[in-house]
């Protein structure tokens, strides 16, 4: 055996929603970086579908489960070794940091304590307060009365969720006391052991950054602006790099916050931060001291080999030694849009609305010389039959009617026939769109809007969620029909706006689009 120092890299296990192929990408790049730096790289993983478990990716591969015991057994055999890297293998590997560390295993890069800090709400909030970094006001409560008190203090709308579930499950936005009380009564089990978190819901842009820290300095390869407003899970939002509507002040603040947080949390390696912006002010909603879903995408469009740089930081080489200037990396010229891809056609009983819970299984990238062109390509790549044909069927909640009007005017101006249901139709007709045709609801007998969808008339469905249970039951049926027919269904007006922007910039055909290699886009 060689006398190189050995490093064990833990993979991310099976592909599942929320933990996809991106973590395999990160694992493989970490291994490559280790080998290039003269280390012996050892992989432990159990997923047969991946590159990380290919026979020549690492110096040694252990096809083994990823539990503490299984890892410790491998480590016993690999003694003496330099350490274990957990930050590239998603939550699977991250979850092993604490038990391995407790067993005396050196965790390379951010320590188990840094990881715990980000996940411990109280400690994390205290740190943010000390650093003067804002997060949405909020508190944990254990009964309905306290929830109402907190909500009154911070103001409606509020975001409520159980503190014990991850991944956005059972998260709701409540806009008044009645809704809040009903959530506390029916939606969740609440007890002193299972508190509910009540946070101010900030209606604003969601922004995400991935950064690399060497423990002192911090490099931000890029900032990604979400297209759907906060409230849609980051994994299910479309996102654009570079940001299209952030002020310099906001960006500077994000860089400052990220840099100070990374240092305070002793982050060495990668860190992902999600912000929601109110005006110029970014509020932190989540920090993960590990690689994230967006690392491959950001690496490719900025040209910063993020995992390699992070791995070198983990091995002790500073950012400056690697030739990087700390702070925000210069922005690239060609915009890139990431869009989620769903597998709803394969699953019955799953509602295809966007919300705080992640539902997508994959993603694609569209890149071009302007934002609308990149958007257009992204929409094509995620399955929209651009330029869309057929009619647009609109049925939106009362709260969304004013906002939807200019969008529908835009689509109508592009020549799309518009159908709308009862209230939405009346509203649009009275707002100066006499040509909007009324589609009957399911409860109004046939032919109704389901027939329009099944008959092939509809090319796009725009439907937002109503709080009214009866209306919502119909909404679910309509959305289901759209999935069955393969008709795109948008449940966020922000996605509809993006689609309109893409279509109005290139109304007739996809012709005129060029293709370029990843390198050529980087060259500008």
């Amino acid at each position: 055996m060689s006398d190189k120092k050995k490093v064990i890299v833990l993979g991310s296990g099976p592909i599942r929603i929320g933990q996809g192929i991106e973590f395999d990408y990160c694992t493989v790049h970490c291994v490559w970086a280790l080998r290039e730096a003269g280390y012996e790289a050892i992989v432990q993983n159990n997923n047969p579908e991946t590159v990380s478990t290919d026979f020549d990716t690492s110096d040694r591969l252990y096809f083994e489960p990823l539990t503490t015991e299984d890892v410790l057994n491998v480590l016993d055999r690999e003694e003496p070794y330099h350490g274990v890297i957990v930050q590239f293998g998603g939550q699977t590997a991250i979850n092993l940091a604490r038990p391995l560390s407790d067993a005396g295993v050196p965790i390379l890069g951010s320590s188990a304590d840094s990881i715990d800090l980000a996940e411990d709400r109280e400690r994390f909030e205290k740190l943010l307060r000390e650093l003067g970094i804002p997060k949405p006001e909020g508190r944990a409560v254990t009964n309905a009365e306290d929830a109402v008190t907190v909500a009154r203090e911070i103001g409606f709308p509020c975001l409520v969720r159980p503190s014990y579930v991850l991944g956005g499950r059972a998260m709701e936005i409540v806009s008044g006391e009645d809704e809040l009380r009903s959530y506390m009564r029916y939606a969740v089990d609440v007890s002193p052991k299972a508190p509910i978190l009540v946070d101010r819901y900030i209606v604003g842009k969601e922004v995400e950054v991935d950064c690399i820290s060497d423990g002192v300095d911090c490099l931000l390869p890029g900032i990604m602006e979400h297209i759907e407003r906060a409230g849609v899970h980051s994994g299910d939002s479309m996102a654009v790099y570079p940001p299209q509507s952030l002020s310099k002040v906001t960006k500077d603040k994000m860089v400052d916050y990220a840099t100070r947080l990374a240092r305070a949390m002793n982050v060495v390696g990668l860190m992902n931060i999600q912000f929601v912006c109110e005006g110029d002010e970014p509020y932190i909603i989540e920090v993960n001291p590990r690689s994230s879903r967006t690392v491959p995408y950001l690496s490719k469009i900025t040209g910063v080999p993020m995992v390699k740089v992070a791995t070198r930081c983990i091995l002790g080489q500073s950012l400056k030694e690697q030739g990087y200037t700390p702070g925000l990396y210069p922005e690239q010229k060609n915009p890139a849009v990431k869009a989620p891809v769903f597998s709803f056609q394969k699953l019955s009983g799953v509602d295809n609305t966007l919300g705080p819970e992640m539902k997508s299984t994959g993603e694609i990238l569209g890149q071009d010389s302007t934002y609308p062109r990149a958007l257009y390509k992204a929409l094509v790549a995620c399955g929209f039959d651009m330029p869309l044909t057929g009619a647009i069927l609109v049925t939106v909640a009362d709260a969304d009617k004013a906002e939807v009007l200019p969008l529908i005017e835009g689509f109508a101006a592009l020549g799309f026939p518009i159908y709308a249901t009862g209230g939405t139709a009346v509203f649009l007709q009275q707002s100066g769109m006499p040509n909007v045709q009324t589609a009957r609801k399911i409860s109004e007998g046939s032919p109704n809007l389901l027939d329009l969808i099944h008959g092939g008339t509809v090319g796009l469905l725009i439907n937002t969620i109503s709080k009214d249970k009866k209306i919502e039951r119909e909404g679910a049926q309509i959305r289901r029909a759209s999935v069955e027919r393969g008709v795109p269904c948008l449940t966020s007006l922000d996605t509809a706006r993006a689609l309109l922007l893409a279509l109005s910039s290139h109304p007739s055909t996809g012709e005129g689009f060029g293709v370029r290699t990843v390198d050529e886009y980087l060259a500008g």
Partner: protein, 554 residues
């Protein structure tokens, strides 16, 4: 034949975004294939819309395009790059469909791009249901009788036909998750399920086929080169009998319950099929085998790399994608070195001296409202694989790799199930069936009873019951397990794949105590090498699995 020197630049199409049915396996296969092509001095143009892949790295291909996967955009890449050839079989169904479309539109001819590897005609023969059936009949390979029905009248006519091969499986076209189908045993049931299926199908279409209920589902991974040399890489047996998509089935490799005669019969048939189709590269043959006779049926053939070929590669250490890529540029199996061993050639069939278990990973933890039944359309997002010397321990490793909140066959919900519920969970496949089988044994059901309900082969059921029996042996041995008297029990539990944590829970000890005792008595895993040749030759694969017997291989 040496490689075709006129091929200097080759285009590879990826499989696009991860969706259910097309996951990371094509990043693995595509990346390996790109490398194999470049090894031969071929320049690779790669197109994929999925940025989260290794294959779209500038390190993997010479020219990387992250552009939409549509014929129009691919035509632009072709126009710009002028590749000499295109390998259509590396990017899953997406890549295959796009390559076919580019050929049909004349784009490939316009720019003189040759399709490499398996010819389009072979792909069409395998993909088109009718042509495939016709070919199978010509070469004397049995296929299940089937009918496509689109009207109630046609359904009525069919139901009146005499000699229908009952029972019949009804599969509605294009419904979510294949929902709305079912098995009909009588004319009434056929009318009812058939017309409901049509109503639910957006195309008003159902496929009705002889239902091979209770038959075993078996797959063979086969390779062929232009010289007509064929080899089988491995076969795989589904634990779930016919009716559950192979992507949603638990799978074991190599097959465990086939007699040698059955194994050879299906192997011969698979090779006959790959020859008749004229595939140059790899393909996957799915077969159904009647457990009570030597009857079998061909279910389908995937004339390309697939999820199963990725699994077979990892299970055997044979790099299928790499070899398929080399075959595509003209090399023959006996001219390709197996890089894993560094000793054998690609024409050498792998041999396994261990057992491999795959378990799918479903999204029902996220989608709590989803229909958990698993049927003929795939629902899993991913999968895990485990290797070990025994089936029991490979299964146990696979279960704990799934990260579904349990480290063993002890499942939180199971004790709450009523006996009725267990019966239903045994006969209607869901992601929880494995745990229901274990619970059934805990409640004293017999192998035969569980077999009647689930159609799992008794061999698998005995193994699962062994695991359950070990649970109770551990409970009973709580007092002795960490003493000298219990050393054998502890060793056996480890050989059955029981984690320390589970042993500790069953015996009321701490995990630390179990681990410490184990190590002090020398009950530690040894690591075996996956060498593709069952240690017949000396080889140096850096690829290991653990087990609790014999000594470690360096």
């Amino acid at each position: 034949m040496p490689k075709d020197l006129t091929i200097k630049k080759v285009m590879v199409i990826g499989s696009g975004p991860i969706v259910i049915g097309q996951a990371a396996e094509f990043d693995y296969a595509g990346t390996q294939a790109c490398r194999a092509l470049r090894e031969e001095g071929v320049s690779v143009v790669l197109v994929n819309s999925n940025p989260a892949t290794i294959m779209t790295d500038v390190e993997v291909a010479d020219r990387v395009y992250i552009e939409p996967l549509t014929p129009a955009f691919l035509a632009k890449v072709i126009e710009r790059e002028r590749p000499d050839g295109l390998v259509p079989t590396l990017g899953g169904q997406t890549g295959l469909n796009l390559a076919t479309e580019l050929a049909n539109r004349g784009v490939l001819d316009d720019y003189n791009v040759r399709l490499l590897g398996t010819p389009l005609s072979a792909i069409a023969r395998a993909e088109d249901r009718e042509r495939f059936r016709k070919l199978m009949r010509e070469i004397g390979e049995p296929v299940p009788e089937s009918f496509i029905i689109e009207t109630d009248a046609a359904l009525r006519d069919l139901s009146r036909q005499s000699g229908l091969p009952w029972p019949l499986i009804v599969r509605p076209a294009y419904t979510l998750g294949g929902s709305g189908g079912g098995i009909a045993h009588t004319v009434n049931e056929l009318m009812e399920i058939g017309s409901r299926g049509m109503r639910l199908s957006p195309r008003h279409q159902v496929m009705i086929e002889r239902c091979l209920v209770g038959w075993k589902e078996v797959e063979y991974e086969v390779m062929r080169d232009a010289n007509d040399t064929c080899i089988t890489i491995c076969n795989m047996e589904n634990l779930d009998p016919m009716g559950v998509h192979t992507g949603d089935s638990m799978v074991v490799a190599p097959s465990q319950t086939l007699s040698d005669k059955e194994y050879q019969m299906l192997r011969t048939s698979s090779i006959k099929i790959i020859r008749a189709l004229g595939i140059e590269g790899g393909c996957n043959v799915q077969l159904a085998l009647d457990p009570h006779s030597f009857a079998y049926n061909i279910i389908e053939v995937n004339p390309r790399l697939s999820r199963s070929s990725a699994l077979a590669s990892k299970a055997t250490g044979y790099p299928i994608a790499r070899v398929a890529a080399k075959i595509a540029i003209g090399l023959h199996l006996d001219e390709i070195e197996n890089k894993v061993t560094g000793k054998t050639l690609a024409c050498f069939e792998p041999a396994l001296d261990y057992c491999v278990v795959k378990i799918p990973r479903w999204p029902f933890d996220k989608f709590v409202s989803a229909d958990r039944r698993i049927t003929t359309q795939m629902k899993a997002t991913g999968e895990v694989m485990a290797l070990d010397r025994s089936f029991e321990s490979a299964l146990m490793k696979a279960v704990r790799s799934c990260e579904i909140g349990t480290l063993s066959l002890l499942y939180k919900k199971a004790s709450l199930w009523s006996d009725m519920e267990i019966e239903r969970l045994l006969s209607v496949a869901t992601d929880e069936r494995l745990f229901a089988i274990a619970e059934a044994f805990r409640r004293g059901l017999m192998i035969e009873e569980v077999h009647q309900l689930s159609f799992f082969d008794p061999w698998f059921l005995v193994k699962i019951r062994n695991i359950v029996r070990m649970e109770s042996r551990l409970r009973e041995g709580a007092v002795i397990v960490l003493t000298d008297e219990g050393t054998e029990l502890l060793r056996e539990a480890k050989q059955f794949g029981f984690p320390d944590r589970v042993i500790a829970d069953l015996t009321g000890k701490t995990e630390m105590a179990v681990r410490a005792r184990r190590k002090s008595t020398g009950i530690v895993p040894v690591y075996k090498m996956v060498d593709t040749c069952a240690a017949e030759f000396e080889s140096h694969t850096p690829y290991f699995y653990s087990c609790y017997d014999a000594e470690t291989e360096a």
